[in-house]
Amino acid sequence: MPRLSPASKPFYMHPPWNILFDFRQLEKIVPWKVNVAYLLLSFLEEMEKRGEVDFRASGVALDSSAFIYLMKSKLLLKLEEPPASPPKKILDFLPPPLFLPLRHELTSTTIQHLLQVLDEVLKGEKLLPTKRKTEPILPPPSDILPALDVYLMEIEAQMEELFLQLSQSVKGKGIINFSKFAAGKKRIDVVRIFILLLFLAQRGKVSLWQSEDLGEIYITVGESSHGTDSFNPDETG
């Protein structure tokens, strides 16, 4: 037992061990800042070194350590209500299902009623805005395909003819204005010529360019490396 005198406090009342023995301080500390294992070990070592084994101080140190651990645990684990156990089914007499007595009952609905309401429904149906579905109505394929075939078959011949005309206009090779070439032709024919020119340009038979937007289109005939005298239908593909 250490003899306590106001003048000489025992060693454990000094830092760092005093934390464990000053209860007012203990309640204020941040538990994470206290290394309990270090405090206890060094406390024991110091006691051994001094040859003063004090069981009461050891007990207090142990109690304080436990208190610090408790504080840490409380901070870690938020205290929650344990999950509610599924409501216990009360054991009670469970009677069998009570089947309602079955009674035949004539119903008052007749075919006249059915027809009366039918009349109303059909009138209502006529009043319905006849929302025709706005889906595109496609003509039957048979109406399109033959015309398409004829056009595709003829396009080769028309391209060949146009190329010949162009070649003649420029006398073999050269440049010609689209407006000049199409002059005096009907609007639909002008469109057709323009489409055919696009086909020819795609095959490299002619080159097309325009000086500015909406300006004159110039057609260069025969500049391409392709031959000018043969049309291979396969190239259209």
Binding site: D92, L94, L98
Partner: protein, 195 residues
């Protein structure tokens, strides 16, 4: 002359008897027809209007006669006399489970019928208790039973107290007195055939 009349009367008697019997048969058939098409309990006044009589006693006597006849036939149908002097024609409960599926009207399924049986047997019973015993799906049963007018719900603090209605008692041909009804139900539940 007197002799002739007497002879006539003697000859008439069996004819009169026959006519009376025919009339009785026809009245019983009319009552049967009324109960058959109505599919619900009918009181003596309504039955009397069908027979074109105001004598309640006569109607009751005839209805009971028809009831007895049904009893003696010992078949699938029965006529019951309810309180308030009402009569109903219905299928005997023991045949219900086997032919239920032929009914085209929407019927309550077994779940709600079990909840109903429990409420009827335990009433007045708190909704909380019914849920505890029957499970949470019983909330829907209670709603359905209430909508059908078979039970009532009365607020009591945070929970509700459930009871069967007088419509329920009539529908099942049970007493309106709860103690008596419970005794009747106990009898029904103990019958193995009522399942």
């Amino acid at each position: 002359m007197e002799r002739t009349v007497l002879t006539q009367m003697k000859q008439d008697r069996p004819i009169k008897e026959k006519v009376k019997e025919e009339k009785l048969k026809r009245e019983l058939a009319l009552l049967e027809a009324a109960l058959y098409v109505a599919g619900r309990p009918l009181d003596l006044k309504v039955l009397g209007s069908i027979l074109k009589t105001r004598s309640k006693r006569k109607v009751q006597r005839l209805a009971r006669m028809l009831m007895k006849e049904y009893e003696s036939r010992n078949t699938a149908l029965e006529i019951l006399e309810l309180k308030d002097e009402r009569f109903v024609l219905q299928l005997k409960a023991e045949y219900t489970p086997q032919v239920r599926r032929l009914v085209k009207r929407p019927l309550l399924s077994t779940g709600p019928l079990k909840t109903l049986a429990y409420i009827a047997y335990k009433q007045p019973v708190s909704q909380m208790r019914v849920i505890a015993v029957r499970g949470r799906h019983a909330y829907a049963h209670i709603k359905q039973l209430e909508e059908m007018g078979l039970i009532t719900r009365e607020k009591s603090g945070r929970s509700s107290v459930l009871r069967t209605t007088s419509y329920f008692a009539d529908y099942f041909g049970l007493s309106h007195d709860i103690a008596t009804m419970k005794r009747q139900l106990k009898k029904v539940f103990n019958q193995p055939t009522s399942q």
